[in-house]
């Protein structure tokens, strides 16, 4: 392109120079006025002829000659000759010696004649004139010669000028042609560029089309995958429910140590598998952007207690200390999605425990100052450990899936590999983040921060206390619609353990019929059933003419955990929603929510002095409370009750141990939780004294002096064998007790 431009510039410059040159040359020739010379010479010749005639006439005519007239003629002729000597003639006739010679001879005559016509001479004789006549005549040839010469010369010059013009024209034409060529070249290049651009644009458009199709396909594939996962989640969870349910039931029957060991392993495997499944589900939801947080007002300290309770056994198993602490400035109630926050904390603390072999794992909860933009303050959960640490190479890769801090094939540390990625995605979804810092050999520090939203004081939803007991007050008539036989079996055992009466149906149609026929207090409705599914059955029940039957509380049972499902249940008219696997605790909480708090853990043990042995300490309480026993016997067989008492008492020493460890480690929170758990069960089994001691422990865990607490634990331990004796006396237990664990 630049080359062309340069060529164009050069050609234009040359054109301009040539034009200027030609113009100069032309003006020169014009000014010369060559053709005028020819006229001058011709005039000189014609005047000469007139002069010669007049001269002859003067000679021939009778004297005196007419001087004035002749002189006049002569003067005119001389003036013509004078012209020939001018600048103009000189320029034109430059290279003609003949012309010069002829002119010379003419000049000679003029000199002579001037003497004759000089004013000094008054007159001249006829003889003088006659004498000059030959000379005059001789000039004829010269003048003619000059005339011809001038004509030829001028014509030659004209031809030359003509040729020069023609050449000039040719040059001009050539320049124009080359200019045209250059312009065409330019045009061609420009056109080619345009064509290229057009092609490029076309290929881009094509590419866009292809990409659009590809994107559509990818989205469709992703959507298909999500749907597949959603469907499969139910399919996967259902047998899970069966498996876990059976395992937990198995746990409650008496087993020998080896069986218990096998059972524990099996349960661990199942738990791990369930954790994987949940992680996969969470990950797919997060990726699809379908995971929604459900924040609610949460009592932060209760949440922390639950976390501690769950993590404590893991820490204890590795002889690690677990400290959970909240700064004084942290508000009591905050707005969070408790489930997800716990999920993250479990993940972080679990990792800390996994990767530490000694020392302590600490969770600090505190506030940080406001950032430049964003919420007014952040709530920080800092998990630090004294474990093996993470090296600088692995640190940036931590939050990527399947990256383990330890790459040994032995997989010593377990885990699903998705945990940290999910945790961070959850954190970011909440508007916060997780950051990690670590030094190899010196432990790690994970900081999980979320924006702080102070919760309103009025709305306090009590969280599910994981260790709450599952003993309801009044027995209910429960209709269970569940198609899977294993699940039916499990739910049957569960509900009967809780003391409720059950009826089972296998599909939605039967559920509607049953609901119309009988009065039920509660309906547990599985969503995925043949013939008619749970949602349709619910809608049909709600449309029953019998208003009492139509308004029966219906709780959904489903393995599918998507929020849309929950919404659909509510829209269909269900009262509540339970995800499978259904635990006893969850069921109990739901029932409590629907039917109010029964006469369960809130009832204080009566300070009645009933019969029974006198126990050490403040014992006005019987070891075995007949009233409670009687109540229990209303809903289950004596054998059943006896088995349960036996099971509980067998665990007694272990329970006591846990209490003692809590005391030793100075963990009032832990102690309180353990005591509360023990109390609940004991109370429902009628083991009043144990319940009372446990209650005292629970209440006094945080403020009683250490030795007092230790004494209570001691008492608890002593009451265990004595309660056993009481139970044997009451006929509930066989006199030959089961070997203690």
């Amino acid at each position: 392109m630049t080359l062309l431009a340069l060529a164009l510039g050069v050609v234009l410059a040359v054109a301009v120079w040539v034009q200027l040159n030609q113009v100069e040359r032309l003006t020169q020739t014009l000014q010369a006025g060559a053709e005028m010379v020819v006229l001058d010479v011709h005039q000189a010749e014609s005047e000469y002829l007139r002069l010669r005639e007049q001269w002859q006439h003067a000679v021939d005519a009778p004297p005196p000659p007419d001087r004035a007239a002749l002189q006049f003629r002569y003067e005119i002729w001389v003036s013509r000759i004078g012209l020939l000597r001018g600048e103009r003639r000189a320029k034109v006739m430059r290279s003609s010696p003949e012309f010069e010679a002829a002119l010379g001879r003419v000049d000679a005559f003029v000199v002579q004649a001037d003497r004759l016509f000089a004013p000094a001479t008054p007159t001249y004789r006829r003889e003088d004139l006659e004498a000059m006549l030959p000379a005059l005549r001789a000039l004829n040839g010269d003048l003619h010669e000059m005339s011809v010469s001038a004509a030829l010369h001028v014509s030659e010059q004209l031809t030359q000028r003509h040729l020069a013009l023609r050449r000039h024209n040719q040059v001009a034409l050539a320049l124009t042609a080359s200019l045209l060529a250059l312009v065409l070249a330019f045009a061609w290049v420009a056109w080619r560029q345009l064509r290229q651009l057009d092609e490029r644009r076309r290929s881009l458009e094509h590419l866009t089309g292809v990409l659009r199709v590809a994107r559509h396909d990818a989205e469709a594939a992703s959507h298909a995958k999500s749907t597949f996962l959603a469907n499969m989640s139910h399919e996967l969870r259902t047998p899970f429910q069966g498996l876990l349910g059976m395992l937990s039931l198995l746990r409650e029957t008496g087993m020998n140590p080896r069986q218990i060991d096998y059972l524990r392993t099996a349960t661990e495997s199942a738990d791990h598998l369930l954790a994987l499944l949940n992680d996969i589900l969470d990950m797919s939801q997060l990726e699809a952007g379908r995971l929604t947080l459900m924040p609610s007002t949460v009592d932060l300290r209760v949440l922390l207690r639950e976390v501690e309770a769950l993590m404590r056994p893991q820490a204890a198993a590795k002889n690690l200390a677990l400290h959970i602490d909240a700064e004084p400035g942290v508000p009591e109630r905050v707005l969070l999605d408790a489930t997800r926050v716990k999920q993250v904390l479990f993940n972080l603390i679990g990792n800390a425990i996994k990767f530490s072999d000694q020392g302590a794992v600490v969770l600090d909860v505190r506030l940080t100052a406001a950032a430049a933009e964003g919420p007014s303050a952040m709530l920080e959960f800092v998990v630090s450990d004294t474990g093996i640490g993470i090296d600088a190479e692995t640190l940036p890769l931590l939050f990527q899936r399947f990256v383990r801090a330890d790459a040994t094939p032995a997989r010593r540390h377990g885990g699903t590999g998705l945990g940290l990625e999910i945790s961070r995605n959850l954190a970011r979804l909440m508007g916060g983040d997780i950051t990690a810092s670590s030094q190899p050999g010196e432990g790690s520090r994970f900081c999980f921060s979320v924006p702080l939203h102070d919760a309103r004081v009025d709305l306090v939803v009590p969280l599910v206390d994981a260790t709450e007991d599952a003993q309801p007050a009044q027995p209910l008539r429960v209709l269970v619609a569940e198609d899977h036989p294993v699940n039916r079996q499990y739910l049957a055992a569960l509900l009967e353990n809780m003391g409720h009466r059950t009826r089972f149906v296998g599909n939605g149609d039967e559920a509607v019929t049953a609901a119309a026929e009988e009065r039920f207090d509660l309906v547990l409705m599985d969503l995925h059933m043949p013939v008619t599914d749970g949602l349709t059955a619910t809608r049909t029940i709600r449309a029953l003419p019998d208003r009492v039957a139509a308004t029966v509380p219906i709780v959904a049972l489903t393995a599918d955990a998507f929020p849309e499902t929950r919404d659909r249940c509510m829209v269909a008219g269900m009262n509540d929603f339970l995800t499978k696997p259904v635990s006893a605790q969850k069921l109990a909480v739901t029932i409590r929510r629907l039917f109010g708090a029964g006469a369960t853990s809130d009832i204080e043990p009566q300070a009645e002095a009933k019969g029974g042995d006198a126990a050490a300490g403040h014992m006005s309480l019987p070891l075995l409370d007949p009233v409670s026993v009687a109540t229990a016997l209303e809903t289950m067989s004596p054998e059943r009750l006896g088995a349960m008492i036996a099971a509980f008492l067998d665990q007694g020493p272990a329970m006591a141990q846990r209490l003692r460890v809590a005391v030793r480690d100075g963990q009032p929170l832990e102690l309180s939780v353990q005591a509360h758990a023990a109390r609940g069960v004991a109370l429902n089994l009628g083991l009043a004294a144990l319940a009372s001691t446990a209650q005292s422990l629970q209440d006094g865990a945080s403020h009683l002096p250490a030795h007092e607490v230790a004494r209570l634990v001691q008492r608890f331990e002593e009451q265990i064998p004595r309660s056993r004796e009481a139970a044997e006396l009451a006929g509930l237990l066989q006199p030959a007790p089961m070997p203690a664990k």
């Binding site: 006025g33 005028m36 103009r88």
Partner: protein, 169 residues
């Protein structure tokens, strides 16, 4: 330039006069006749012709300028009355002036030229009268140096030296 304006005003006035009043009579020549104006004239002094001698030409307002010409190598000074003044004296009214020289050279000068340009009838070359052999006695000269448009063959040819007669057509 004031000369031009003055003469223009004079020309305008004289034309008005010429159209309004009867033609003023021209006195006859006393010396040798140098220039004869014939044709459409209103003030003849010899039959149908208006004849001028040197004295009559001298009496008219003289204009002088120096200019280059094709006939002389150097610029020369020409002095003489303006042609339009001479024509006014003769009462000339026409469109074309046919000028003839002593050697029968003929050229047509548009009447307009005399009005538009300071075209003079030169009688002095460098303040000296011109002999016949020096292209005299009279020479119509345009102010070539003053105006570029005059410097071409057309105007050169209208500069008739050895001027003898002007026929007004």
């Amino acid at each position: 330039m004031t000369t031009t304006r003055r003469t223009l005003l004079q020309a305008g006035a004289s034309m008005l006069l010429a159209s309004a009043l009867p033609a003023r009579a021209l006195l006859p020549a006393t010396g040798p006749v140098l220039l004869t104006v014939s044709g459409k004239i209103l003030s003849p002094n010899d039959g149908a012709q208006a004849q001028f001698d040197m004295a009559m030409l001298e009496k008219l307002p003289q204009t002088s300028f120096s200019t280059r010409t094709p006939w002389y190598a150097q610029p020369r000074k020409f002095t003489g009355p303006l042609l339009r003044d001479v024509l006014r004296e003769a009462g000339a009214q026409g469109t074309m002036l046919r000028a003839r020289a002593l050697n029968d050279y003929r050229v047509d000068i548009p009447f307009d030229d005399a009005q538009r340009f300071d075209l003079i009838v030169a009688r002095l070359l460098d303040d000296q009268p011109m002999a016949v052999r020096d292209k005299g006695p009279l020479f119509t000269i345009y102010p070539f140096d003053a105006r570029e448009e005059l410097r071409n063959a057309v105007y050169y040819s209208r500069s008739a030296w050895q001027l003898r007669t002007i026929e007004v057509r």
